[in-house]
Every structure is written in structure tokens, then in C-alpha cells.
């Protein structure tokens, strides 16, 4: 029974945190978000060099073939700095989809592992819930498939060398590989509330290749990859909450009002204590979900979706409480773009709505057997 990262994983998280913390101010983040690519290319390369891009890819493609613990470490450290470099949506989630398919072109996996390119996953459609079958259609078969439809909230589509697009074809649900510069693609670029670059992408007769198999099996593989991403993003959330609450405690110690520091006001101090409890409890859930994922990888137990939903619902709620409290405890300054705390709050807010959002996750949970199943961390 061990719910902690091992020494190597801790060291990996620290090396990422070190690389980020030296640069990441609110100003740096703002500039990176506003740059041509939407993140800091140098920093992305630095992190790729210490292995961040290779984690989830097998050794055949020069990856590190690491486990859920390493992904936790990376995303936790990224979260601690509210970093916007696109490892989860641009590398890890695409790599899981590609690997699961068994039919991914080698050069794609190798490029992702090397940090030379990113891919983008295009699944959300405007006004359509995550679990619905895609309205985007795949027509034709074999090497002659084309896609038509509109995807939204596609993270970093403007920089992606490849798009992994979900669509409904004759055989049902499928994930299709599309070149970023393929014909028939129209993009409207925008951003999320946390300043991550996203696009609406329209496909009209765009050539595509089916990854793996279509139909229910394809959907299950897609859902399992997304469940991994849901658990991974919770590590980022815990990193964000951890650092945001520490920054807030520091603020209470230094900021003066009425001639004394805010830490003199017991009402605020008690709220900081509640915040600490909130973060530590959320950390435990994220670690539990990560450990479950590692365990599932070793056994035949594939309850990843349920684990991801359970954990997501809990941590999204904690993320909201923490995001709101850290801003409130900062007062007006916590609302401004120039202080880190607002970026932490904004990113936490986006995470709550990621991969279909918390309300949809709650609906799935409440319809499942989860509410009537006793919780237990220990599996044996």
C-alpha cells in the first residue's frame, strides 16, 4: 500500500518544476499565450529534453514507456506553475489514442516523443454533449475516407501537425488521422478562459485515415484514452491548487490592511486552514486515481472510466472551491491578469469543464452503480 510517488517520480516532478519556476511569472505566461504558437517554444523543448514529451510513448518510438505515476509527476509540476505548454492535449492524449489503435504511423509517434511536433484531438462539437455520437461523418473506406463536420474547442489545432478526429462512419464511431494542412479544413481560432489556444475546425471532404477499428470497440478505446486524460488533468489541478493555496498563504503573511498583515485576521486564517484540507484531500483522490490506473495496467481490471469519473467529480468540486477562495482571499489583486493567482483560478475553471465537463461526469456517475458502492482505497 503506497499512495506516494517514488523517488524517481518525485525527482522528475522537481526537475520540471525547477525548469518552469525559474521563468513562469504571470507576465511570462501572458506573453507565451499571446505568442504566435500560444506557448513558449524554448521551454517546451527544455521540458522535452528532460523527457516530458516521451513519457507515454513506447521505446520503439524512442519513448520512455513510463507509467501513470510519471504522467502525474509531469502534470503536477506543470500545474504548479500554471504552465500552458501542451503536453497533455498535444502529446499524451494523442499518443494514447494512437497507441491504442495499433495502426499509428511510426513517424507520428516518433515526432511526438521527440517533442518535434504536437497533435490535436478533435472530438467536441458545438452544443453537443461529449458522450453523443459525433455528427461529423466519415464517408468512403480504405484509403479513400473523407470527413465532413464541425469540431469545437480543439486545443492547439493551429499548431498541430496532425488532427485526431472522431467521426461517425458506416461502421459507427471511429478516430481518424488527418494532416493538419489537409484540404477542406477551415479554422476559427480562439482561446479558452485560461488563455489556452483553441479552434473551431470545420472539415469538408477532408481526406483521413481510420485509426484502429471503428464501432463500439473503437469508442471504448477512445473513452479509455480520455479517461486517462481525465485522471492526468486532475494531477494538473492538484498542482494548481497546491501552488495557488501556498501563494495565498504567503499573501496573507505579507499583505497589510488596517496597519497589520492579513494573517492577523482569524476569519481569513481559518479559511486558509480549510483550503489546506481541501487541497490535501484532493491530492489523495488524484493519487488514488493514478494508482488505480497503474494497477489496472497490470491486471485485467478495466474500470478506468468509472475511476476517472469518480475522481473528476470530486476534484472539480474542490477546484472550484479553491479557485474561488484564493481569488477572494487576494481581493481585487486576485482578479488581475498581472498576478499569478488569477491564472491559477482561470485554469482550474477550465479544467472543471474539460473533456465534456463536470456536469456530464456527474450525470454518468449518478446513473452508474457508483453511489451505492462502498468506497475503498485498498484493493484486496
Amino acid at each position: 500500500m503506497d499512495l506516494t510517488l517514488n523517488e524517481d517520480q518525485e525527482a522528475f516532478a522537481e526537475s520540471i518544476d525547477d525548469a518552469l519556476a525559474r521563468k513562469y511569472t504571470a507576465e511570462f505566461r501572458g506573453k507565451a499565450a499571446a505568442s504566435d504558437v500560444g506557448w513558449d517554444e524554448k521551454l517546451f523543448s527544455t521540458l522535452a529534453e528532460i523527457g516530458a514529451s516521451a513519457l507515454t510513448i513506447d521505446e520503439e518510438h524512442d519513448g520512455l514507456d513510463a507509467g501513470a505515476g510519471e504522467v502525474y509527476a509531469a502534470l503536477y509540476a506543470l500545474g504548479q506553475n500554471a504552465a500552458i505548454e501542451p503536453f497533455l492535449d498535444g502529446v499524451y492524449l494523442p499518443s494514447w489514442l494512437l497507441s491504442a489503435s495499433g495502426s499509428a504511423p511510426d513517424e507520428v509517434l516518433s515526432a511526438l516523443a521527440a517533442g518535434e511536433a504536437i497533435a490535436a484531438v478533435a472530438h467536441s462539437e458545438p452544443g453537443r454533449v461529449w458522450d453523443a455520437a459525433p455528427a461529423t461523418t466519415a464517408t468512403g473506406d480504405g484509403s479513400k475516407v473523407t470527413l465532413s463536420g464541425t469540431k469545437t474547442a480543439v486545443a492547439h489545432a493551429d499548431q498541430a501537425k496532425w488532427l485526431l478526429v472522431t467521426a461517425s462512419g458506416d461502421a459507427g464511431f471511429g478516430v481518424y488521422l488527418v494532416n493538419g494542412d489537409a484540404e477542406g479544413i477551415t479554422r476559427t481560432d480562439g482561446r479558452t478562459a485560461d488563455w489556452t489556444r483553441v479552434s473551431r475546425v470545420t472539415f469538408e471532404g477532408t481526406p483521413a485515415t481510420l485509426l484502429g477499428s471503428a464501432g463500439d470497440q473503437g469508442r471504448r478505446a477512445f473513452d479509455a484514452a480520455v479517461a486517462r486524460a481525465r485522471i492526468a488533468v486532475l494531477a494538473e489541478a492538484v498542482g494548481l491548487m497546491d501552488r495557488a493555496s501556498k501563494v495565498t498563504v504567503d499573501y496573507l503573511k505579507s499583505r497589510k490592511q488596517f496597519g497589520v498583515t492579513l494573517s492577523t485576521f482569524q476569519a481569513l486564517v481559518h479559511r486558509a486552514a480549510d483550503l489546506y484540507a481541501e487541497v490535501e484531500l484532493a491530492r489523495s483522490v488524484a493519487l488514488w486515481a493514478t494508482a488505480s490506473l497503474e494497477r489496472d495496467a497490470q491486471t485485467d481490471d478495466t474500470d478506468v472510466d468509472a475511476t476517472a469519473d469518480d475522481a473528476f467529480v470530486y476534484i472539480a468540486q474542490a477546484a472550484r472551491v479553491v479557485a474561488e477562495e484564493v481569488v477572494q482571499l487576494h481581493g481585487g489583486i486576485g482578479m488581475t491578469f498581472e498576478t499569478p493567482i488569477s491564472h491559477y483560478a482561470a485554469r482550474l475553471t477550465s479544467i472543471e469543464q474539460s473533456y465534456g465537463g463536470v456536469a456530464a461526469a456527474r450525470r454518468r456517475v449518478l446513473k452508474s452503480g457508483s453511489p451505492l458502492t462502498a468506497p475503498t482505497v485498498v484493493r484486496s
Binding site: A153, R191, V198, G259, G332, M335, G357, A359
Partner: protein, 397 residues
């Protein structure tokens, strides 16, 4: 007990509605709903209201006021919010206007009040400073008399919409040596075109520029710009606190947001049926509904109970719960939209706020509004300050 307005009150409300819904352009009200109004919208709307005698109803009748009852004032605020009409600029109609009307010279009244009511002058508030937020009396800006002028030095911050300000009313120390920190403060009017004023816009996390910082470096203003007596500024500032009971609970706004939320839920398809069928969402809607009913009823009780217009500690209760509720409604809208709600387009609205990527969905600006609405429990006396006021003034703690 009676749950109905009198026939006169109903007539009064209908007249207001005619102006709010038929005279104020629908496009402006639509932009209020989306949280994307511009300076021009605010000016246009206030001028239309003023044209119909509805911009400064609580001012003295001589300057356009109406002598309304507390209930009428309450109807006015609620209906205005519900109709999504931009609230007349608070700095003009609720702050500097009443102060000048009460304490200003005849010359000041004639010079400023008509232009203030019609928003020909856009006023900014110069109260908060970097080291004087919740602790306003800790302000450090000085206005030292030099002949017929005051020489102002210092820094003001959190100046909402200060980028549009023609004039600023500010608090500054005319007697920096005063014994208590509340003493020696004066209330001074400053033409923002005066040399020596520098503005630094403060971008908020949602991308908007709503607040600003102002630096005053030897800014010289005529002594005739002093309102009331020198060193009495703190008294005038306190006159404002608690003066804004009507509308502070934002009942009308929350009612409008609640209705939008129900409409959106009915139109949002989920896995089975629409969001309006989702038991969890229904439960959260009902909680919000009853909180809103409790808030409205409390506001009606308070409005009825103290018609003398004096500051009432109940306004702290209304602000506390009113802001919490409106914030939780924006959170509900965020959750309703799911992934759609965090999307923001790249085209910018007139005030710099980006427009939603998928503007056909109510969700499109949900995350921005959610983040922006965090200000409600901070600005204008934080919820922590309101709890302190309740504890002291109501509970004697």
C-alpha cells in the same frame, strides 16, 4: 400581509417597463446579457432614461429627482436589472451626484449636476489606493494647498471604467498631520485633462479592462473644486456607504439570469432528454430559485421597513447574499455549458472583451462572466467587510 403591488405601483411598473423594453434598444440590452456592453451603450442608455426622467430618480427634485417611495425605488432597480438595461453610471448618479447635491456649492451644482445626470460628464471614483482597499481611511494621496490651487500627489487604483473618465472625484489628505487617519481628508473634483495624470490600465483575468490605476504627479486643481468643507471628506464618503440599498442585492439581475438558465437548460440536449430533465441540475436550479426568492422577499421586507432612506445595516445582508447568489448562478451557467462554456473567440468586443466562439450558445461567454463576476464579492466592500458590518452594527459583536 399582501403579495400584490397597489394599482398605482402596478401602473408605475408598467410605465417603467415601457421605457426599459421599448425605448432602450434591444441590441444594448442583448449586449448586457452577454456581458459585452460598451461605453457608448452606457451613455446612450442613460440619456434615454434621463429623457424619460428615469436616470436620477433619487436626486433632489430640483435636479431631476422623483421623491419615490422605497417600494417604487425597489421596483425601479429590479425592473431595470431584469430588463437588462445598463444601470445608470453609479459614479455619476449614486455617488458624486448626491454628494454635490447635498454638500456642493450652488455654482458646483449648476455646473455639474445636469451634465452628470445626462452623462455628458463621465465621472470616475478616486477612493482606493494600493495600500488602502478595505482599509480606505489608510489612503495616502495628498492635496496640499498652494494659493488658489491644490497640488495633488499620489496614486489611485481599482478605478472602474476610468479609461472613459472626464472627471474624477477623489479623496485626498489636505491635512496630512491630522491625529486620526479619518481626519484631514477632503473630497475634490479633478478634470482628467489636467497635466500630471497618468493612467495605467489593469487587465483582468477575463481579458477585459474594467479597472485602472492613476498616478498623480503635482496635479494642480483650483480650490473651487473642493466639495463642502476642507478636511470633511471622510464624512461625505461615509454618507455614500449604505446609501445604495436599492439594487445592491441585484435581485432583478439574478431573476434574469435564472430565466436565461432555465431557457438554456431546456434547449441543451444531454445524453437523455435535455438538461432541464437532469435531476442533479434541477436540484441545483431549485436551490438557486429558493435562495432568489428568499433574497427578493428580504429586500421587499427591508424596503418596506425603513423608508427614511438612511443607511441600513440590512444592506450588508443584501450585498452578501446577493453577490453570493449571482456568483453561484454564473457557476451554474458554466456547468450547464460544459466544454462549450470555456470557449472564447479571437474577435474582440468594443471594450476589449473577446466575443464567444459559438455565440449561438448561451454558454459562449459563461466562463468569462463567471471569472468576471468574482469581483462582486470583492469590490464595493468585500463580503468580509460586510460580515464585519453585520457583526458590529446588527449583532453588537
Amino acid at each position: 400581509m399582501d403579495l400584490e403591488y397597489t394599482p398605482e405601483e402596478q401602473r408605475f411598473r408598467d410605465e417603467l417597463r415601457t421605457v426599459f423594453y421599448e425605448k432602450v434598444p434591444a441590441e444594448i440590452r442583448e449586449r448586457v446579457v452577454r456581458g459585452q456592453i460598451s461605453r457608448e451603450d452606457i451613455v446612450a442608455s442613460q440619456r434615454i432614461l434621463h429623457e424619460h426622467g428615469l436616470a436620477v430618480p433619487h436626486w433632489p427634485t430640483q435636479w431631476g429627482g422623483k421623491k419615490w417611495t422605497a417600494t417604487q425605488q425597489n421596483i425601479y432597480a429590479s425592473e431595470l436589472q431584469r430588463a437588462a438595461v445598463p444601470t445608470p453610471l453609479a459614479f455619476n448618479v449614486s455617488m458624486v451626484g448626491p454628494i454635490i447635491a447635498e454638500f456642493g456649492s450652488q455654482e458646483q451644482k449648476e455646473k455639474f449636476l445636469p451634465a452628470t445626470a445626462n452623462l455628458d460628464i463621465w465621472w470616475s471614483q478616486g477612493f482606493s489606493e494600493p495600500e488602502a482597499g478595505s482599509d480606505l481611511a489608510g489612503l495616502k494621496t495628498t492635496a496640499i494647498r498652494d494659493g488658489d490651487e491644490y497640488v495633488i500627489n499620489g496614486q489611485k487604483t481599482w478605478t472602474t471604467l476610468g479609461q472613459y473618465g472626464d472627471w474624477m472625484f477623489l479623496l485626498a489628505r489636505t491635512n496630512p498631520g491630522a491625529e486620526r487617519k479619518q481626519q484631514g481628508i477632503s473630497f475634490i473634483l479633478v478634470d482628467m485633462k489636467t497635466p500630471g495624470i497618468e493612467r495605467r490600465p489593469i487587465k483582468l483575468i477575463d481579458g477585459s479592462v474594467e479597472v485602472n490605476e492613476f498616478f498623480f504627479d503635482d496635479v494642480r486643481v483650483p480650490v473651487s473644486n473642493l466639495v463642502g468643507e476642507e478636511n470633511k471628506g471622510w464624512t461625505y464618503a461615509k454618507f455614500l456607504l449604505g446609501n445604495e440599498r436599492n439594487g445592491i442585492a441585484q435581485v432583478g439581475t439574478s431573476q434574469r439570469v435564472f430565466a436565461e438558465l432555465v431557457d438554456a437548460a431546456k434547449e441543451t440536449d444531454v445524453e437523455e432528454g435535455t438538461l432541464a430533465d437532469d435531476p442533479d441540475f434541477r436540484s441545483r436550479l431549485h436551490t438557486a430559485k429558493m435562495r432568489l426568492l428568499a433574497l427578493e422577499a428580504t429586500q421587499l421586507r427591508v424596503a418596506g421597513a425603513s423608508a427614511d432612506g438612511k443607511p441600513d445595516p440590512a444592506s450588508s445582508l443584501l450585498k452578501l447574499e446577493g453577490t453570493r447568489l449571482l456568483q453561484s448562478l454564473t457557476a451554474l451557467r458554466l456547468d450547464a455549458g460544459g466544454t462549450d462554456s470555456v470557449l472564447v473567440g479571437d474577435t474582440e468586443g468594443t471594450d476589449g472583451t473577446p466575443v464567444g466562439l459559438s455565440s449561438e450558445h448561451a454558454a459562449s461567454t459563461a466562463a468569462l462572466q463567471y471569472l468576471n463576476m468574482r469581483k462582486l464579492s470583492i469590490f464595493g466592500g468585500s463580503n468580509e467587510i460586510q460580515r464585519g458590518v453585520i457583526a458590529k452594527a446588527v449583532l453588537g459583536l
